[in-house]
């Protein structure tokens, strides 16, 4: 006996209500990562039949390499969004750091290790500056990071006059973006390592718990003694660091530092991966496995559409539609479970 109710949820009159509630809870629990995993499997099976060369080791590793850069940015973005924040400067900070590392290493002939440390520290510093403006001066995250987006873009173009740097990037530097460890490209290994690290950090450290608590209920976090401002400061430092890491790996992967390589487009792809992966922009909800799956889904989709010889412009349309569908699905599931998490 099953009939549709006004809420659109089928009613099973023979099932006691408490078990129905349980079912809704189970469905709302599996929705996130499980649905995305299923979508990835179905998409992969479809592409395996429809295209030649999708289901080959070479292509799959290629997909992983393609998603590695967006994933690195999505990790940092995801952590900021879990606090209920926003960092839209990440793309431009990545571009700036990408130019910085090339400038230091290729032009100023600074030692590779020192160049890397300075570049990553620059990203961290910019992130901390964002965090300080947001946490201590009370500027809304969107505005603060929008300002930083313009500032970093301006600095990048002012110093480079829009010219790329490609000479002097020797093989030891390029190894970061183009090398392999075993069968896996170095950027993929960096991505996997960062996902594991970020997952562990969010779930097993006090700071990770506080990041979730601020996103869930900032006031509750504050009144129970969480140092909200400090946690926010560190969180933006983390997103700045991941932007920098993305910029460094990107420069090494492209073999040249391009002032416009990363930017708003690139950042929005990373943000899309995070949102598809179940990260809620209102804060408190999101996890690293979801973000990885979101990035993987986008990667496979773009790879598949390319193999199917569908234009890159059309891929944007598909991405846009999917993003809306993902959010609608998520909202429906949340209201079906009574708005509870």
């Amino acid at each position: 006996m099953k009939e549709k109710t006004t809420t659109g949820i089928p009613e099973y009159s023979h099932i006691p209500p408490e078990r129905l509630v349980k079912r809704v809870k189970i469905i709302s629990k599996i929705q996130g990562n499980m649905i995305l995993s299923l979508a990835i499997i179905i998409l992969s099976i479809f592409l395996s039949f429809k295209t030649e060369g999708f289901f080959t080791t070479y292509n799959l590793i290629n997909v992983l390499r393609q998603i590695s850069l967006t994933s690195l940015m999505a990790i940092g973005f995801g952590i900021v969004v879990i606090t209920g924040g926003m960092d839209i400067s990440m793309g431009n900070v990545a571009a700036m750091v990408g130019m910085t590392v090339a400038g230091l290493f290729a032009i100023m002939k600074v030692n590779l290790f020192v160049s890397l440390v300075i570049s990553l520290a620059l990203g961290l510093g910019i992130g901390l500056l964002n965090g300080a403006v947001i946490a201590y001066l009370g500027v809304p995250p969107f505005i603060a990071t929008l300002a930083m987006m313009f500032i970093s873009q301006g600095i990048t173009f002012e110093f480079t006059q829009g010219y790329p740097i490609y000479e002097g990037l020797t093989s030891n530097f390029l190894y970061i973006g183009q090398g392999y460890i075993g069968p896996l490209p170095v950027p993929v290994i960096i991505m996997i390592a960062m996902f594991i690290l970020a997952h562990f950090f969010l779930n097993n450290t006090v700071l990770g718990q506080h990041i979730y608590s601020i996103g869930g209920n900032e006031n509750a976090a504050r009144v129970t003694g969480v140092n909200v401002s400090r946690v926010k400061l560190i969180t933006y430092g983390i997103s700045g660091f991941f932007a920098a890491l993305t910029g460094v790996v990107m420069t090494a992967r492209l073999g040249s530092a391009q002032p416009a390589a990363a930017g708003m487009d690139f950042f929005l792809t990373a943000a899309t991966a995070a949102v598809l992966g179940g990260t809620e922009l209102s804060g408190g909800v999101g996890n690293m496995l979801g973000i990885l799956l979101g990035a993987l889904f986008l990667g496979i989709l773009n790879n598949g559409l390319t193999l199917l010889k569908i234009s890159a412009y059309f891929q944007w349309i598909v991405t846009g539609i999917l993003l809306i569908l993902a959010i609608v699905w998520h909202t429906t599931q949340k209201s079906a479970s009574g708005g509870k998490y």
Binding site: K25, N203, N204, T205, V206, Q209, H210, Y212, S213, G215, G216, N217, N219, A220, A221, R222, V223, T224, G225, V226, N227, G284, V285, K340, Y341
Partner: protein, 275 residues
């Protein structure tokens, strides 16, 4: 006007309280042009439940937020067992055994129960000194379950998210967070406001049992029947000022309500100092 000299009658079950556990002296607080508190004094004795009543904007919550370390007073001092204390944050107040149960429970519904109970007090295992330590989730879950069981609350798994619980269960988590860590003073801000009848009476039982555990409490409520059933003393606020302080046995609901509405000019009842 008749000035009544009211002396506090210490409840029978408590030990000799030679001095108050808490004294807030001359507390003032402004929000811009609005003076939320004007030179307010408050005393709380060992194992005593003090009711705090007043109309909206009377300054009760502001005073309690100052005590809980959420707000800082413009003037005035707080003494805990006669030692001056200055709370820069809720963490400072909690470390002195001052806990607050908020009307909206102040829970992070996206987080697991134990995470809420132990919020800002997480149990960690040190891996490499204090700088690198990881959460001891098992111990947090076990101890949360134990604290909740002491309250006779069964919630099932402590791994559930707080948002999955009913209103009453959520409040149990909020109370567990307040009582589970050697609290000395518990502030309850309108704790029954969002509860059903059965849950509200259970909450009153919990509040009433605090003195037996040696805990003092400040109970804010609009419900006079609650105040008169569990409090030993009641303090009345009106537009940021203390307008009355009575032993509960020596005052009537009418007198309190009149003071809440009319202030010191209420019915001839004068503000009383209990020293």
């Amino acid at each position: 006007m008749i000035a009544m000299d009211i002396r506090i009658d210490i409840p029978d079950h408590q030990p000799q309280p030679l001095q108050p556990i808490l004294r807030m002296v001359n507390i003032s607080k402004n929000f811009g042009a609005v003076q939320a508190l004007k030179n307010v004094d408050l005393e709380l004795y060992h194992a005593e439940i003090l009711g705090l009543v007043g109309d909206n904007a009377a300054g009760k919550s502001t005073l309690m937020k100052i005590l809980a370390g959420v707000l800082r007073p413009d003037t005035g001092q707080i003494f805990i067992e006669d030692r001056p204390e200055s709370f820069k944050s809720p963490r400072d107040a909690r470390s002195m055994g001052i806990e607050m149960v908020y009307q909206d429970f102040a829970l992070c519904k996206n987080m697991w129960i134990a995470g809420n109970v132990f919020m800002a007090r997480e149990i960690v295992r040190e891996i490499i000194g204090r700088t690198f330590s990881v959460l001891d989730k098992k111990q947090m879950a076990d101890r949360s379950r134990k604290i909740l069981e002491e309250q006779k609350v069964s919630i099932g798994s402590c791994k559930k998210r707080a948002g999955e619980l009913s209103g009453g269960q959520q409040q149990s988590v909020a109370i567990a967070r307040a009582l589970g860590f050697n609290a000395r003073i518990v502030i309850m801000d309108e704790p029954t406001a969002s509860l059903g009848v059965k849950q509200a009476s259970r909450l009153l039982e919990i509040a009433q049992s605090l003195p037996q555990k040696g805990i003092s409490a400040i109970y804010i409520s609009h419900r006079m029947q609650d105040i008169f059933s569990i409090c030993h003393r009641v303090m009345v606020h009106k537009t940021g000022e203390k307008v009355g302080d009575f032993r509960i046995k020596e005052v009537s609901v009418d007198e309190i309500v009149r003071l809440m509405i009319l202030g010191k000019q209420g019915n001839g009842v004068e503000t009383n100092s209990i020293r």
